[in-house]
């Protein structure tokens, strides 16, 4: 237990330092809130088994140390209806004392963007205090990867691809739309329970194209790449300050979809289809997971939580422990988080209409 104690002590001093750093902000908003002896409930609208659980379990102990008064932070799982149940529940809560926070994910954003009839929540009502980004990598078996001519994927257009898909309206719509834009003929096998199952399907040779989010790619696919049974195809990229898609900092050697699209005949990096893809990519990846305080949260509470997440980011070991668990992606607070929320929860009416129509035509999924 000695390790535990030391980290706690280090964290306490860090919090003190952070509190000093942010005292200006804190004063601007009032006095911050003290959570001594309280229990912070962090609602995750998924089961204990998903990526959001990993993310929340990573942050929960750190948050407990960083918040004033070191409250107990417990992650409360409220799965159901593809995360809309938990989000609807959070929408109904009123701010009391800052002991309830909510962790949303791309799978919460997509139904919201697509106008799913079950969505009763509105991101505009909530107060974002942290936004975590991630990325994604698509990969191929070596024989198919060899067919590609540099970044030109046209030679793959006559291959029958099989892809293990979690659901047409889930995050998987970003890769499937990207592949379709490259002119690939990808058949989605539905009903897998997580991207891990998709990777297993690829390893068994049943699927011959797959994608993983960055952290799963690092732990699950990198060994396959080293063993020569998988070859990375492209990343979805990352956003620079100006909102352009650039190479993913975690995978600087892998080209982005944008580069492949430019090099492949028939794929356009402008126009309606591209705008729609980019809008949903932004909603799904660079602003994938966010922490919210409920509607009506006091400025004090927002400042307190922002300072706490800033203190976590300022830990000397944060870069090391987060790179392993979350990948090298921005963990945004304050204005940056608001910017991420804005780009992640607003898509143009055209982009929405395009995707809704595409889902209807390709999968027969009706969202109206």
């Amino acid at each position: 237990m000695s390790v535990f104690k030391t980290t706690r002590r280090v964290a306490c001093s860090l919090v003190a330092a952070a509190a000093a750093t942010f005292s200006f902000q804190a004063h601007a908003g009032g006095h911050g809130i003290d959570l001594t002896g309280k229990t912070v409930e962090w609602i995750i609208p998924f089961s204990e088994t998903g990526g959001s659980a990993k993310w929340a379990n990573f942050y929960a102990p750190l948050l407990s140390e960083a918040l004033p008064g070191q409250p107990t932070v417990v992650v409360k799982f409220m799965p159901g209806a593809g995360s809309t149940k938990g989000a609807n529940h959070f929408q109904g809560l009123e701010y009391e004392d800052g002991t309830t926070i909510f962790g949303s994910s791309g799978s919460t954003q997509f139904p919201f963007l697509l106008g799913d009839p079950r969505v009763k929540y509105n991101y505009a009502d909530w107060n974002v205090v942290l936004a975590s980004g991630t990325g994604g990598v698509a990969y191929l078996p070596p024989d198919l990867a060899a067919k590609m001519d540099g970044m030109d994927a046209s030679a793959l257009q006559d291959v029958d691809f099989i892809y293990g898909n979690q659901g047409a309206t889930r995050l998987d719509l970003v890769p499937t739309l990207a592949w379709e834009m490259l002119g690939l003929n990808v058949e989605s096998v539905m009903g897998i329970k997580g991207r891990g199952d998709g990777r297993l399907m690829f390893e068994r040779g049943e699927a011959n194209i797959d994608y993983q989010t960055s952290s799963s790619y690092l732990s699950g696919v990198t060994p396959l790449v080293e063993a020569g049974t998988a070859v990375p195809m492209m990343t979805w990229g990352a956003l620079d300050e100006a909102g352009n898609i650039v190479r993913d900092p975690t995978f600087p050697d892998i080209p982005t979809f944008k580069e492949l699209c430019d090099a492949t005949d028939g794929c356009e990096t402008s126009g309606e289809q591209w705008d729609a893809w980019k809008a949903f990519f932004i909603a799904g990846f660079p602003a994938q997971k966010m922490v919210f305080l409920p509607a009506g949260a006091s400025n004090d509470a927002i400042v307190t939580y922002t300072a706490a997440f800033d203190a976590i980011k300022a830990r000397p070991d944060f870069a090391e422990i987060s790179a392993k668990r979350l990948g090298k992606y921005p963990q945004m607070t304050g204005e940056a988080a608001k910017g991420a929320l804005n780009s992640g929860t607003n898509v143009s009416a055209e982009a929405k209409a395009f995707v809704v129509n595409w889902l209807q035509e390709k999968y027969g999924v009706s969202l109206n």
């Binding site: 659901g167 199952d197 799963s216 699950g220 392993k324 027969g364």
Partner: protein, 671 residues
């Protein structure tokens, strides 16, 4: 080989007093949680998660493995003593374990179960030691058609458990499958038997609720009506030593079932829900005298219990090697491992290369935990078995309390309790008219895998066939599929031939024609409606195919049953009715007043929230039904509430709120 030094290092890591201390702590916690029906490894590990961050990896592992390993050991208590499946891994134990308890042989059943659990756990661990080095290619051999075949093999166990009228068993299994398809389809998200206006059913019914409703509620209600202790004989005949002797006499059965457990556990995606049924089916098939199964045959306890602990060892293979959790608890286990130390252990393909010593530590911790857990359980079994001699009216309100709480934890929705009540009522009726409840549960559990694997295998096969006939056939009829197919066909044929002798739920006399016919017509009506509902899903969606297929087959079965009911005389076994003769008919209390008590708890909860409702319910029940003095009833009630609050507080769980909570802001636990 690099494996041998790693094995030695693993022992070096484990055999330190502080590591063993954490292991014992984990085991004790695991035993306490496993005893609670409906709470298993998931709840236990979630409880430990907050402590894992930055912990010394080997200590954290000792704590977690200790807990996970013994949950399938201690969940036997609920299965044997109360007839409640303690977790999905010990559903089959109920079939023979509970009748043994009723005969006053609870201690014998328990110790046989624990000895089998221990043995299974050890077989699992030693198998794993060897298997880890060769597992990867083998696991990759199990593609979708093989997974589908294993699922079908699991379903074929319905043949053995179908009961005396085979078609009734098949319809029961089909009904279970149809109930399993309720909610959002996995393929394109179309809704079956539900609507977004009523969101509860869109997520489908949870196993905890169906398991408790189908097995536990009918047994509790029935025992309560008879108003006596679980064991008819007050003396606890057959001590714990007899159970160990029973196990030793059937050691080869235990070996075979352990191996079944490991193998099924290794295959990712199926997890624990089929393994006990396959082991039970195997135990039945390989026994010469089958007449006692379902009435308290110790082999029916040894089989499933050997397999369910072995499964935990097997389940670690996909978890450690692929980073793909074989079960819900394994998923949290992966998350928790990432929290340990400074995150240097990464579950997945790299595990064997970088952390072979840790991998083997996990295996050996698993083995040790099984030993420690079993010793504790056997030592306690004699004492705990005495529960069966307590007057049931004193036990029942607390059981209602526990199963209501457990059911609520699955969805944290008041509707969970309504669903529990509804499924419980179905269970009561199935028990009354001798419809096979095990068949129903197997159908329910395997409904989703069967549908998904069938859809996926079909889709991938179509793509292969487009490339060429050979490639398609190679894909579908791999050697493993063919072997499984042969085993399945044999098992169905043998099973159906033997089913008439195996009365999984005892002999039931035939009664009048009317009641069984009415129940059959209601079931037929539901199936017909499910068919209609699935047919109304647009034709391009795959989500309609499976329910339509199952419903059509069931409807055929129903037609045959109806025809038989019309043609046969009242004495035919098809008219089995427990209310006609036997324990239920001569029970001291009627069905409806007894059920009304449980319904009352539900209603009160809807009004006042769970804890207030529970206080009223416990006091009223103990005072009026069990006839305690007011003072005693208050003491018992206070104990029950205190227990419930402690559990919920430890696990950080909420209680169901009622109407009152909408209007008034109450402090926990009333909120």
């Amino acid at each position: 080989m690099e494996a041998l030094p790693a094995l030695g290092q693993a022992w070096g890591l484990i055999l330190q007093p502080v590591v063993l201390g954490y292991l014992v702590l984990g085991v004790v916690m695991g035993l306490c949680i496993g005893v609670f029906p409906g709470l298993g490894g998931i709840a236990g590990l979630s409880l430990l998660l907050p402590f894992m961050f930055g912990m010394d990896p080997i200590l954290g592992l000792a704590l977690m493995v200790g807990m996970v390993a013994v949950v399938p050991t201690s969940d036997t208590f609920a299965s044997v003593l109360m007839g409640i499946p303690g977790s999905s891994a010990s559903q089959a134990t109920v079939l023979d374990g509970f009748p043994m308890a009723k005969r006053g042989q609870a201690a014998r059943a328990l110790s046989a179960a624990f000895a089998s659990s221990l043995f299974g756990g050890l077989v699992g661990a030693s198998f794993l030691t060897v298997f880890i080095l060769i597992a990867r290619p083998i696991v990759l051999e199990f593609r979708t058609p093989e997974l589908l075949m294993i699922t079908i093999f699991g379903l074929s166990m319905v043949g053995i458990l179908a009961g005396r009228v085979a078609i009734k068993g098949l319809v029961a299994a089909g009904l279970g499958m149809l109930i399993g398809t309720i909610g959002e389809g996995a393929s394109s998200g179309d809704l079956r038997m539900s609507s977004y206006d009523f969101p509860y059913l869109a997520d489908g019914l949870k196993l905890v609720i169906v398991g408790l409703g189908i097995f536990a509620i009918p047994e509790i209600i029935s025992l309560l009506r008879q108003d006596r202790a679980i064991a008819k004989e007050q003396a606890l005949g057959g001590g714990w030593l007899d159970g160990v002797k029973d196990w030793f006499a059937n050691i080869w059965l235990s070996v075979r079932c352990s191996i079944i457990g490991v193998i099924v556990g290794v295959i990712p995606g199926l997890g624990g829900s089929v393994v006990d049924w396959i082991a039970y089916g195997h135990a039945v098939q390989t026994s010469k005298d089958k007449s006692n199964f379902g009435k308290g045959e110790v082999r029916g306890v040894i089989g499933p219990e050997s397999s369910n602990n072995a499964k935990e060892g097997g389940g670690l293979v996909p978890t450690l090697l692929f980073g793909i959790p074989g079960s819900g608890s394994m998923a949290i286990f992966i998350g928790a491992i990432a929290l340990l130390g400074s995150g240097q252990i990464e579950v997945g393909p790299a595990m064997l290369k970088n952390n072979l010593d840790i991998t083997y530590s996990i295996v050996w911790l698993l083995a040790l935990a099984n030993v420690v857990g079993t010793v504790i359980c056997i030592a306690a079994s004699g004492g705990i078995a005495k529960l069966t001699t307590i007057r049931f009216a004193l036990l029942a309100p607390f059981l209602f309390m526990i199963i209501s709480f457990a059911a609520f934890q699955s969805g944290q929705n008041l509707m969970d309790l309504v669903a529990l009540f509804g499924i419980g009522f179905l269970g009561i009726m199935m028990r009354r008219f001798d419809w096979s409840r095990p068949a129903f549960l197997i159908g329910f559990v395997l409904s989703n895998p069967a549908e998904n694997y069938a859809n996926q295998a079909l889709q991938i096969a179509q793509s292969r066939f487009r490339k060429g006939l050979d490639e398609g056939l190679d894909y579908i009829f791999s050697p493993i599929v063919i072997v499984l197919l042969i085993i399945t066909v044999l098992s169905v044929v043998l099973g159906l031939r033997q089913a008439k002798n195996i009365m999984a739920e005892g002999d039931v006399k035939a009664g009048t024609k009317r009641a069984p016919l009415v129940f059959l017509l209601i079931v037929t009506g539901y199936i017909a409606f499910a068919l209609f509902d699935a047919a109304s899903i647009p034709a391009y969606s795959r989500d309609r195919v499976f329910p339509m297929f199952v419903a059509s087959v069931c409807l055929l079965g129903c037609v045959v049953l109806i025809a038989r009911m019309i043609l046969r005389p009242e004495s035919d076994t098809i008219f089995s009715d427990r209310e006609a003769e036997g324990e239920d008919a001569s029970a001291a209390h009627g069905l409806w007043p007894t059920l009304a008590w449980f319904g009352g708890l539900l209603l009160l909860t809807a009004l006042f929230g769970f804890i207030l409702a529970l206080a009223l319910f416990l006091f009223a029940f103990l005072r009026l039904r069990a006839g305690l003095s007011a003072a005693m009833a208050v003491v018992y009630t206070a104990c029950g509430i205190a227990f419930m609050c402690t559990m919920a507080w430890l696990l950080n769980r909420d209680f169901p709120p009622g109407l009152l909570q909408e209007y008034a802001d109450l402090p926990w636990p009333f909120s």
